[in-house]
């Protein structure tokens, strides 16, 4: 289990004067209320490797004090890293968001 990742989650470690929240705020997300990714916490409860926690570039997989995982889909890059690194069947059900929603990289 990654202590640094966990610490980073709970108290945003500011390097370069920027918290993780501020970093994520630079990207635009058109949020759809229906989550496009659903994580089955019962599968995660038995997972000791927790690849998703380290690898998700948006840091959306957060370990809980009770040993589970909470996931929030709202600031997702839709990159696919999580379902590829997680090798536990059924933990993640992954789809693209409804058309027009989710991450929007900006035009100049």
């Amino acid at each position: 289990m990654s202590d640094t990742a966990q610490a980073g989650m709970l108290e945003p470690h500011a390097w370069g004067g920027l918290s993780f929240q501020e970093r994520m705020a630079t990207a635009e997300f058109r949020i759809h209320h229906t989550p496009h990714i659903v994580v089955d916490g019962t599968v995660c409860a038995d997972c000791s490797t927790r690849e998703c926690v380290v690898a998700c570039p948006a840091s959306l997989f957060v370990p809980t004090a009770e040993g589970g995982i909470v996931f929030n889909h709202e600031q997702c890059f839709e990159c696919g890293t999580c379902y590829i690194v997680c090798n536990r069947e059924g933990a993640i059900s992954w789809n693209y968001p409804e058309g027009g929603h989710g991450i929007v990289f900006r035009r100049t």
Partner: protein, 433 residues
């Protein structure tokens, strides 16, 4: 009767080029994109090599949304405290017909999709393709979208849906996929005044710099990049997925480490974060490529793992544009011949095989694995930088040691066995030769 002749899924570089060639062949083409506009979902490092557009869009350089023309290309080898750079400049690359250019993908993809529309293709945005529609014999005959009444049928579907290609996977065209075939790219776009960028990077006007970096990813196998846009820098890292998960290092911390490196820090200093972004790269080349032709469907671009990621080269957009073009042409050919099976659509595979698309992949087939191997990643940068440091350090009153002696000592100090070095050297020669 089908609704249209050709459905292209995904308005990235592959999809827009497929739509251009298919529409110009007189076909009725629909180009479906899940983002609110083409390019809105797409990020990359930052350099396109558009030579392949010369015929498709003559004088493309007069209209393409280019940030800077790359006239300086560096390859940098980093250890925690050292840097060895090979730096090449060419004035020729700063004038027509140019070579490479930095560009933002939302601009670039939007521009290319405009050409698809101008050719007569119908662009439908904010629409996600959910699955394929297939007939009893398994041939693809259309797609199901997330729009109400969103089924659409076609003679040929061209899947240009990017690295995760759920369409190619649904059709069973990938034999297997494995985390080790992918790298995660994360990038920061940093704002700096144009004059500051010009001065720091030693360029003028619209000239720009492409720096590829080996080492500097904090123990995670991968690489880094630093590119100049007009008034921003793109700095990022590309990380092998299993290594990232195993090392327990967060992507943004690895970028921060790269930005703190003594050779990089002065270049990026005071850059204000404008956008943080992430995307996967299909990294393994031939080792992971799916079948690209099946009855009623062709697969192009990253969806077919055609991105070339071989250390000093990271080229995906040109491979996507070319494969898309060829897919559109082959679809038109098959429809004319009224043969939508693998034979009728086989012109696609032939075009890929006869051009740089598969020729480069075959030539460089050993390169991705070699470049991401542990020795190249963790031992050689230290060894090579060590040799350079000894060559240039003046140790008076000691006389200068001979190169052979330095090489041998630095090899041992880095913990590299002679026979591994010889084998990798030979492999490298065969990979890139």
């Amino acid at each position: 009767m089908t609704d249209v002749d050709v459905i292209v899924v995904g308005a990235g570089p592959a999809g827009s080029c497929a739509a251009i060639t298919a529409a110009r062949a007189g076909l009725d083409v629909v180009l479906i994109e899940r983002g609110p506009f083409p390019g809105s979902k797409n990020m990359y490092g930052g350099v396109v090599y558009p030579r392949i557009l010369d015929d498709l869009i003559p004088n493309w350089w007069e209209e393409a949304p280019v940030q800077r023309w790359v006239t300086r290309r560096s390859t940098m080898l980093l250890t925690p405290t050292q840097a060895l750079t090979v730096d090449f400049r060419s004035e020729a690359w700063g004038a027509p017909p140019y070579n490479g250019a930095t560009a933002y993908r939302p601009d670039w993809d939007h521009w290319l999709a405009g050409h698809a529309e101008a050719a007569g293709a119908q662009l439908i945005t904010s629409t996600t393709v959910k699955s394929l529609i297939r007939n009893q014999s398994g041939a693809v005959v259309g797609v199901r979208t997330d729009r109400p009444d969103g089924d659409l049928t076609a003679k040929v579907v061209i899947a240009c849906d990017g690295v995760n290609s759920f369409l190619a996977k649904e059709a069973g065209l990938y034999e297997h996929t494995d985390a080790k075939h992918y790298t995660l790219g994360v990038k920061e776009t940093l704002a700096l005044p144009k004059e500051v960028i010009d001065e720091r990077f030693g360029v003028r006007d619209r000239h720009g710099v492409d720096i590829e970096i080996l080492g500097g990813t904090g123990g995670v196998n991968g690489g880094g990049f630093l590119y100049t846009n007009l008034d921003t820098l793109a700095v990022g890292v590309v990380l092998k997925l299993p290594a990232l998960a195993a090392q327990k290092a967060r992507p943004e911390d690895i970028i921060a480490g790269l930005k703190r490196h003594p050779a990089i820090a002065p270049l990026v200093q005071d850059g204000e974060l404008k956008e943080y972004s992430a995307h996967l790269i299909p990294e393994a080349g031939l080792e992971m490529m799916p079948r690209m032709v099946m009855p009623g469907m062709l697969v192009a671009g990253d969806a077919a793992a055609l991105c070339l990621a071989a250390g000093i080269w990271l080229e995906g957009v040109n491979f996507a544009m070319a494969s898309g073009m060829y897919a559109g042409e082959a679809a038109a050919e098959a429809i004319r011949a009224d043969d939508l099976g693998t034979a009728g659509l086989g012109g696609y595979q032939r075009r890929l095989s006869d051009t740089f698309v598969l020729k480069d992949h075959r030539k460089l087939r050993r390169a991705p694995k070699l470049v991401l191997s542990d020795r190249v990643q963790h031992l050689y940068p230290g060894m090579v930088a060590g040799v350079a440091e000894r060559m240039f350090r003046v140790d008076n009153p000691h006389p200068k040691p001979g190169l052979r002696r330095i090489l041998n000592q630095e090899r041992k100090r880095a913990g590299v066995r002679r026979r591994d070095l010889l084998r990798d050297g030979w492999n490298g020669f065969r990979s890139f030769g």
